[in-house]
């Protein structure tokens, strides 16, 4: 009997102002360690979690954004970003981390983990999940 379920982690909070973004990342890594089928969605202020160039040395907090780049090594390669949330914040894909994974079914070719999707597409992705955890 297969015990693999489809898990979606929904991220809606900016980093550093609250602990949600960091806690979500911790739980994502746990889900991946149990070899579940993990996807991540970044909507609303959650898109700010993935900005590149974060430099926290002057606010006395740990910069956890490099951890997102390690997700590919944990077979977390489905990262969905809502297009409308990016646009409302004046952001484009160029403002975000360049997240990659190696596709073991395609001779370990390096591929993009990030997929910018519309609100309607994201609704369908959410609908397909067995478990949705919202942060």
């Amino acid at each position: 009997m297969s015990t693999t379920k489809k898990f979606l982690y929904v991220n809606r909070k900016a980093p550093y102002g609250t602990i949600y973004a960091l806690e979500s990342l911790e739980v994502v890594l746990i889900g991946a360690a149990f070899e579940q089928d993990v996807s991540l969605a970044f909507i609303d202020d959650g898109v700010y979690e993935l900005t590149k160039g974060q430099d926290t040395k002057d606010i006395g907090m740990k910069n956890f954004s490099p951890t997102y780049s390690a997700l590919g090594d944990f077979d977390v390669s489905k990262i969905y970003i809502e297009k409308e949330s990016l646009e409302a914040r004046g952001l484009t894909l160029d403002d975000l981390l360049d997240l990659k994974y190696e596709d073991e079914d395609d001779d370990y070719a390096e591929k993009d983990s990030i997929h910018v999707v519309s609100r309607d597409e994201l609704a369908d992705i959410m609908d397909e999940q067995d478990v949705v955890l919202s942060f």
Partner: protein
């Protein structure tokens, strides 16, 4: 009684910045800190509202919070002054009290 208003919440998650802009008197100052710094960025759904308030109110943003969040200083709305922690302290002494919006 020109006050210093601080806003530490994202304008896309809470309406603290909008409430502050609605009630800040001419001659007062608004300092955006923590998640509030997103309100200082240009090209967003709220940037026009901030620009409109600039004729009456001085705007400041805390640089270390901008850098921590990976936001680029060249994308901050023209007219904002970027301050460090010492600048934050100076502002609290220059104005007649602090209104910390939450």
């Amino acid at each position: 009684m020109a006050k210093l208003h601080t806003v530490n919440k994202s304008p896309f998650e809470r309406d603290a910045l909008e409430a502050c802009l609605r009630l800040a008197k001419k001659g007062s100052a608004v300092l955006l800190i923590e998640d509030g710094i997103y309100g200082a960025m240009s090209g967003t759904a709220i940037s026009d509202k901030v620009k409109q308030a600039m004729s009456d109110v001085s705007f400041y943003v805390l640089g270390p919070d901008v850098a921590a969040r990976g936001m680029k200083e060249d994308k901050i709305i023209d007219g904002f002054k970027i301050v460090d922690y010492n600048g934050f302290v100076d502002l609290t002494t220059e104005y007649d009290g602090v209104h910390a919006w939450l």
